[in-house]
Symmetry: C2
Subunit: 287 residues, 2 copies
């Protein structure tokens, strides 16, 4: 059957634009909001001390639009201010829990090629937080989709298992053991951990604060299946929505900056964009 895959873009402040999205309609929110006091020109430079206050109305709307089985992944890192790490991320987590969010996990994104520099009192910052929030303890997670190749020892391990297998097969007759065995034998992959090793994308000076495609891709694989809905309320150059579309997910992108909005719009038009009746709402048709 021919189904339509939609990519909807909204141009405006997500505090307002989010209200156009129905309750419990989104499977995954993946976003990297403007960092405190940075990207001043694009987002008006939220002061670190005002960051929590600014973000809470947004996270409340995000709570509303997320399905009970959905997940919110927030890519964020505190800035250094006056020689100290600022505490707005810590405070934000505490306040979001008061809104009903469950702080399920904190993934670490290890940036293998982090920004260069040298300071007398600190080293280069090579990691960012990927905070996982949920509305309920029962959320969808497709762990098999992100399994990774095992270490070197996999071969010998498999050998051992096949021998153990034989022994058990002799002693046990007609039990459900065979199924387990085949599971083990085909195992050449392992589940990942909560530490992600990805290089940052470099050389793209058109847009600030870009993350590599593999970052949203990993979480989209992990927390959604095809035809699910992915939302990025701080779309920026559109990495999340473009990856989502490529992966057969419906997506929604919001950005306040005209440059970003029209950039993503035109890029989607290059492929197969369909304008919907609402202003600023587009759908990309896909076979």
């Amino acid at each position: 059957m021919n189904m339509e895959l939609s990519t909807r873009l909204f141009h405006g402040d997500c505090r307002i634009e989010l209200k156009k999205i129905p309750d419990r309609s989104v499977d995954l929110i993946f976003t990297s909001p403007p960092y405190a006091d940075s990207r001043k020109k694009t987002y008006g430079g939220i002061h670190p001390n005002k960051y929590v206050e600014w973000f809470l109305p947004i996270s409340k709307e995000l709570f509303r639009v997320l399905k009970p089985t959905g997940t919110f992944v927030l890519n964020i890192k505190e800035k250094v201010q006056d020689g100290e790490r600022h505490t707005y991320v810590l405070e934000l987590i505490l306040e979001m829990r008061k809104q009903g969010w469950l702080w399920t996990e904190e993934f670490i994104w290890h940036k293998k090629n982090c920004y260069p520099g040298k300071w007398p009192n600190r080293f280069r910052d090579a990691w960012e937080r990927l905070l996982q929030f949920n509305k309920s303890k029962k959320f969808h997670m497709y762990q098999e989709e992100v399994m990774v190749p095992m270490g070197e020892w996999a071969r010998s391990r498999l050998k051992t298992l096949s021998e153990t297998d034989k022994k058990r097969d002799d002693s046990k007759v007609g039990s459900g053991f065979g199924k387990n065995i085949s599971n083990w034998l085909e195992r050449t992959k392992a589940y990942p951990t909560n530490v992600l090793h990805l290089a940052t994308e470099c050389g793209n000076r058109n847009h600030s604060a870009v993350f590599p495609e593999s970052l949203p891709e990993w979480f989209i694989k992990l927390f959604t299946k095809e035809r699910d809905v992915v939302l990025d309320p701080f779309m920026g150059s559109g990495t999340t929505v473009k990856v989502a579309h490529k992966m057969g997910r419906n997506s929604i992108g919001i950005d306040i900056m005209p440059d970003y909005y029209y950039l993503v719009k035109s890029e989607l038009e290059k492929t197969n964009l369909v304008l919907l009746e609402q202003a600023g709402v587009y759908a990309v048709k896909s076979k």
Copy 2:
């Protein structure tokens, strides 16, 4: 000159034992306190909800004994409770700042071999926090001491060179060769980042150390020089004090558990222990 290197051990609750240590006398505090609700048998199992309340009087004493130029490195990680990451670490950071601590940095310890397991809603936990606190913005940091070889190619290259070096060392007679090598070595070293990659120690039948020796070693190199004073108020099996002593630093270890206390004591006695007048205070003489 013959100087004495001292390793002082205290047996008791660090909330009390710390009072025996003078104000502003410690250069580095490196410790890994008992995790909430774990090590029940050893520390009485502090409940996660009581953790901050329990730790704050200790951090207050630590603040007192640390030199203004010193550093406090706290190895900690929140437990999962009821499907969520607990918030006691976040709250602890916020409360410690109220005590006057500066939250300078958060290092990530990536545990390459983390505990195995599989669950429907989370992956294996492969990282811990190493929170850096200071009393002032002007603290001592010896960055050159922890420089690392650049990249993989450099590492293999270094191997080759060191082997070649050895071979020629036998036949070499005071040529300028060594100097060339050291020059080359300096060029291939880079400052590290705030992400540390270390495996936990396992299979060592002696004692199960909580962290590998290289962890305290790295921070001792970074934040102290020889003859400085290193303190671990939750000594455990004594990794920190033993590494500190090996590196020519004076050290102080405290533990409430008799088993740990007498274990470390006897290990130090095997080398060259000197009993001081105070009960529970020992010094290891070193030439």
